[in-house]
Symmetry: C2
Subunit: 326 residues, 2 copies
């Protein structure tokens, strides 16, 4: 069985989680790490049992021994480095958000098709056992027809103009960084909304400190999503249907348990298998897709990422967050 070799671009905190899960995901090994700061790359490689290090992303992208690249830079570089790797024929797992806006995502998808190179947004929550189980239960009619979804993701991040969370040039703002989790849940279960009504509050840098959005559907379904860097929210999600509900306690986006409620029956808590750190499932999905010769994941498709990005474009338009590339 082929071992897929991975390179990492942007060896930060999130890449560290990824590298911890990589050897436990099966058929995947860390082969190279690139950072413009070579010391950072070397420290990272040492921490994770050794790997080739590069002081340039181009060199990593050009390394013929690498099958797949995980891009974990600030959001504003996703498109550039994603395209770089795709053009070298690498499979790309790109941290969420795939890019800053729908136009960039479209360009990346086009490159994936042109070069027949795999491309997937690292929306890891999608592949967790919890999300798989919930999706199966909903498909099986366990909560009837979904009428309402609510999810939040908020924590307190003191304002710093140069922090990637707030710096507009780095794709700062709550929506792209954490609001994408509740957005994913809603779009995954409900599809593209017919209507969006959003309200946000902008930090002095012009990025969104907080963002609330109502997603509504012409058949009466609705969803409410919240993201904020101004306070700690409950990190819970609920999916309410005509015959039952699913409620995911904190932290909903990476939990291994949830509550299933059905009218007239006692609440049931469903506990799933223990996880490494949750990243292993998206890595396995990449392996599966590469083994099958696919250029996109059926579960986290190009079209889905484009819909997420375009929905965020519309939300940002309404709340007045504009990136230079828009």
């Amino acid at each position: 069985m082929k071992q897929y070799t991975w390179g990492i671009i942007g060896p930060g905190k999130i890449a560290n989680k990824f590298a911890l899960a990589l050897p436990l995901a099966g058929n995947a090994i860390l082969k190279a790490v690139a950072s413009r700061d070579i010391t950072r790359a070397k420290t990272f490689a040492d921490t994770h049992g050794g790997a080739q290090t590069y002081d340039s992303y181009k060199k990593l992208a050009a390394d013929p021994s690498i099958d797949a690249v995980y891009i974990a830079t600030p959001h504003s570089y996703h498109a550039e480095y994603g395209l770089l790797c795709l053009r070298h024929g690498k499979a790309v797992l790109c941290e969420k958000p795939m890019a800053l806006n729908g136009a960039q995502v479209s360009e990346m998808i086009a490159a994936s098709r042109l070069h027949h190179a795999f491309l997937m947004e690292a929306m890891w929550t999608c592949f967790l056992p919890l999300m798989q189980r919930i999706t199966d239960m909903i498909d099986a009619g366990k909560i009837g027809k979904i009428k309402y979804i609510r999810a939040d993701f908020g924590f307190l991040a003191p304002f710093q103009p140069t922090s990637r969370l707030f710096d507009l040039r780095l794709g700062g703002g709550s929506l792209l960084d954490i609001g994408i989790y509740p957005l994913f849940l809603c779009l995954h279960l409900l599809g593209r909304p017919d209507n969006i009504r959003a309200a946000g509050y902008l930090a002095p840098t012009g990025s969104d400190e907080s963002c609330n959005a109502l997603l509504t559907y012409n058949d009466g379904r609705s969803a409410v999503i919240t993201s904020t860097l101004a306070c700690q929210t409950s990190l819970t999600a609920e999916i309410a249907g005509t015959e039952g509900a699913i409620r995911i306690p904190s932290p909903w986006y990476k939990n291994d348990r949830f509550a299933y409620l059905r009218a007239g029956q006692p609440e049931e808590t469903i506990v799933l298998e223990p996880m490494v750190n949750g990243f292993e499932y998206e890595i396995r999905e990449v392996t599966r897709c590469l083994e099958a010769g696919l250029i996109e994941s059926p579960s986290m498709s190009h079209a889905f990422s484009l819909t997420m990005s375009r929905t965020m474009d519309e939300i940002r338009r309404q709340i007045g967050v504009r990136y230079a590339v828009d």
Copy 2:
């Protein structure tokens, strides 16, 4: 100490709860019950230890032995019967919503002032020990500055065109019936919003089956409220501040316990005194106000009811729910 004598207009389910709490609220006794269906009035009076019965609201309003009237009819009659009682100088505790729109509420307030008769919206949640404690804690800075509030109230009510929940002529719709609870919480703690963005879904009768609204404030605070008759929601509320959060489990609007969270400290559950059914606190508030010779409650003021009603007017305008009196 004076015993305040109460009359009840509209002896239905909610009036039953009220009558159960009345003798336990102190200084309050049930004196009369009016229903256009005299049998209904008699049955109700019998259930609650006997009381004068009337087959007309006018007769009850004209009964000189009655100090205060509790109005528990469908929403669409609140203004008419409230005005009737105020004009007879009765103190009026009017079920929420006070009336169908801001114009009606204004008229009731004007009558209260003209006749120097007490008027209060029966927003009972406001007077519960939980709400008092939470308000005190927030005023004392226990969660810092509030940044975000979220609350929902939804249950599954199968559509019936003639049900008061759906019939536009009876003031049907989720917002006025149950959305007013989350709205109360937000306005109570945050004041009048600077901006409202709402989305709803209308039943075939034109009333709102569901309604979501974003309330935002120019200083960055925000609130999200949900009401729906299409599914059972979690019935939870959260209030998140810069230094902590308060989370109220189901059913948040009548609970006797809540969780207090502060960064770096273990979650604390605060349990309050046992309640009769929660209605006793609003009754005691009326007694206190009458003893003090007031025509409005400082805690649930005329101005507050008017703000709630006008906020609902704006939400209804946005979602397209229009009552005949609008």
